[in-house]
Amino acid sequence: MIAQPPRDPWRVIWQIVTSDVSLAALLIAVAAGLTVTVWLPQMPVADPVAYARWLSEVQAHFGAATQAMRTLGLFTVTHSLGFRILLALLAACLLLRLIESSDRLRQSQEVMEPMGEWRGLTGVCLPDVRDDLRRWRYRVLHQPPLLQADRWPWADLFPLLAHAGALLLLVGLLITHLWGWQVEGLIVQGGEQATLPGTDKWVALDDDARRVTHSPGLVTFVEERGPGVRVSAADSTRRSLPLQQTTEADPVPQLALALTEDQYFAIPEAHLVVRLAPQTGPAAGTHSPVLVQVYRSPPGRLTTETVVEGDADLTVGDVTLKLVSAPYARLTATFNPGLWPTGAGLVLLAAGLLGSMIWPVRRFWLREGTDGVEGSGDLPRALTKDEEA
């Protein structure tokens, strides 16, 4: 009986962790998590308005099952601990595979131990095939009785690139998660500069709401543009009249109103209430017409009604209303310190994968056997076509 050498448990663990099957299993698990989010709307984290809208939508769609699904974490898949653990395991697996890939790149400089079963190749002559392989851009190493052919170094470099890229991408995502933030639904009016809550970063809009400027490191995306006005009122002596949007609000000489919906304000000294309604239509935009209705309060009777476009002055009795167009933009502002690692990781990953697909390693070995030439490994079709036929 031949005594088998004891198996090194660390080597076994290493082989399992760095195997293609482990990586494939992790990718499938991550894919399952992501695919669930296509059909199950995920809970918004930062925006309370979006949260309220989401809650009403899921309750209308899933009814009584909503609570149970929420408990199961189906609405917070990508924010769940399980998903994060999966990504951490994926990162660990990629790191170990990166180490192994770099070691393989170094080892592949010389003839390697043949892998796979040996099979007979009919109609193949070793001296001829060596020239053919060089013509097909294979690197050919000869160490009698073995002949190794592969596409080193590029073919071994592409998987390394893909692993490094995927790892860099995950590092970028981690940096984004730890130090990045996003403000959604931020409304800024033309000519205004807004400081983002809880930060020293700012976002500004030009008078026409066309160009957005912001502090360095921010990325802004304009989700929507619409009309807005800057309103002030004066009496017959040109004295500024205070305006009030709500009963609790302090009276101010000028109001900036983004017309995302109908807006109301009062001129308490003149006993007037004003309604501003954006006129939606096919030509709706930043300078679309605005319906202005002025009510006398009391008794709440409509005094004046007109549609204005752009800047306008409106006289109601002794009061002159000055409306200056100040269109608004609804923005998403993102601060992402992981932007560059993520982008670089993406490029490396794509380049590595595409390179591996176009230029695979295709390592194989040939030798003179008793019945002719034998081959093992990833044999090209040109050498095996006689057997396949």
Binding site: V21, A24, L27, L34, L339, L353, L354
Partner: protein, 232 residues
């Protein structure tokens, strides 16, 4: 009768004939019949492509699911001339996804769904997903054939679909990073597309000798792509 229905109906008939011929040829051991099957596949693919172009010319609305299904069926129907079939099943099964897609497209008439969507222009990204779904459907047909025959041959459609999907997901992520500053732009389809790419990556990584596992993963990824491409 709408032009879509005429061309899809014709293509369905051709594909059904191709499947029937492939099976009959296999059982009767008629070796030259595979060329006829391939020719009919080409003809069905071209018919579907002409149908897509004519329907698009009529409506200028490529966002309707019927056109997308037709385009995917056309890409899935065009056979690979270098492919050698081991059995009757091996030549009949790859045609099935194209037949199913064309069949669904036939009963999903543009009139029933077109009005709601209006004349919305189709973004290049959506078109790329449809093309990817079509090539994926081809790869799915070949994967189904592998399950039936357990033949571990490598097909170009598998690599082509994965390559296109990699480019698509990479481009989408880079555009999101540039526009939004994050990897996700907020659309639900993005995570589905990434999911399909990850499953395809798993299929690509899976050992070659595990034919059924690779094939099953390819089928799951393609089905997900087709669902996303039809905009469901």
């Amino acid at each position: 009768m709408p032009v879509t229905v005429v061309f899809t109906g014709l293509a369905c008939g051709m594909l059904l004939t191709a499947v029937g011929l492939a099976l009959w040829g296999g059982f009767r051991q008629v070796p030259r019949l595979s060329h006829a099957v391939q020719a009919i596949g080409w003809l069905a693919g071209v018919t579907l492509l002409i149908g897509v172009l004519l329907t698009w010319q009529e409506n200028h609305n490529a966002s309707i699911p019927a056109i997308r299904l037709m385009l995917m069926a056309a890409l899935a129907a065009l056979p690979n001339p270098h492919r050698r079939c081991a059995s009757s099943w091996d030549s009949a099964i790859p045609i099935l996804p194209a037949l199913i897609l064309a069949g669904v497209g036939l009963f999903w008439s543009p009139e029933s769904v077109g009005t709601g969507l209006g004349h919305r222009p189709v973004a290049p990204m959506e078109l790329a997903i449809v093309i990817c779904g079509g090539i994926g459907a081809r790869a799915m047909g070949e994967a189904l054939s592998k399950i039936a025959t357990l033949a571990p041959h490598v097909e170009w459609s598998f690599t082509a679909a994965y390559m296109l999907l990699t480019l698509l997901v990479g481009e989408m992520a880079l555009v999101n990073l540039r526009q939004w500053g994050t990897l996700w732009g907020g659309a639900s389809g993005e995570s589905g597309l990434t999911g399909a790419w990850l499953i395809w990556s798993a299929a690509w990584l899976a050992p070659r000798q595990h034919v059924r596992l690779r094939a099953a993963l390819t089928i799951v990824a393609t089905l997900l792509l087709i669902v996303l491409a039809t905009g469901r």
